[in-house]
Subunit: 208 residues, 2 copies
Amino acid sequence: MFIDEKGIEVPVVDLDMLAGEHKSPNYLKKNPLGQVPALELDDGTTISESLVICRYLDEAYGEPFLFGNSEKERGVIALWERRAELGLFIPSIEYGHHTLPQMSEYFDQFPDWAESLLSGIETSLARVNERFSQNKFLAGNSFSIADITGFLGVQYAEMIVGLKLPAASPGAEWVDRVFRRKGARSFHTAKVLTEDFLDDGRQTESND
Amino acid sequence: MFIDEKGIEVPVVDLDMLAGEHKSPNYLKKNPLGQVPALELDDGTTISESLVICRYLDEAYGEPFLFGNSEKERGVIALWERRAELGLFIPSIEYGHHTLPQMSEYFDQFPDWAESLLSGIETSLARVNERFSQNKFLAGNSFSIADITGFLGVQYAEMIVGLKLPAASPGAEWVDRVFRRKGARSFHTAKVLTEDFLDDGRQTESND
């Protein structure tokens, strides 16, 4: 989403993660922790962690600045990005890790703990929704990285956790606005893959 | 620690959190989520979240830049800051929330889930330690925000979780180097308060 919104092209190497290509000696030489994605700079330095990569690209490629144009804007955007990440994105993903049957081979699952995350996710959804009574976008009147994390957080809360913004609310209208942007193109593919993955698990569960 | 390392002065208003002053109408007007710390800018905008506040101050006050001097430096520093945060700082704090008896009134505790964090914290400590076989500081050869988060993460892993870097290891030497810096002054107070708090809990437990 970030690269599409930024309107830039970054050479991409696809890794076959199911075949463990992100743990191959060649990749680990570049990125010892085997994390995906990673960005290799011209001098061979490798940066990982999506948010860190996006921030680097934002600076390196110039306008539009999705992390903000001034100190104050950067502060307010970083604040809302972090709230969306800690309040929606991370807990929704954790909820999936600890409750989906198809995740049980990758994680020691603690579903009771995962259920304890629900009230925090609900509170964050309500806060995000309230935010759009005054603002067009999450951190103010321009689209920013906060909208990307927030949008993904809201999507995963709905798809994985089953918690959603009220229909026709200011938040739901913002989701529609983001969906119509060029940045959402790559999300459509991710959404279909995620839904297929979730459906597989539900089928496995009902066949048990 | 950040303000001392930066060598700046920021007007501070202390809040009596035990008396709930961070939930008073006056404070909530400035910062609706009632989070501490918060930074009020000259125009009345309020920013919260420690890392977001530090990043803002770093830009606003100029050198020394604890988030880095170039795009590449900022990328590498942000990467190690995030690894320290997600791998050491946050899981150590979460471990405390879910296992300390004196935290049971604030959190629904899931101690089994907390125990599952231990192997990740151990791995992160080993990675941090390994990092100092080549580097003087966590993100390279200059002190940065990554060292602040990393240092606090290592301290909390030791105090709260009971996991520590091996004695006389490169990582233990780095901890000593950070302890001798002016930035560690404020940590000494925090350390005593934390140890008192932890001792109280242990005493409560043994009196049960």
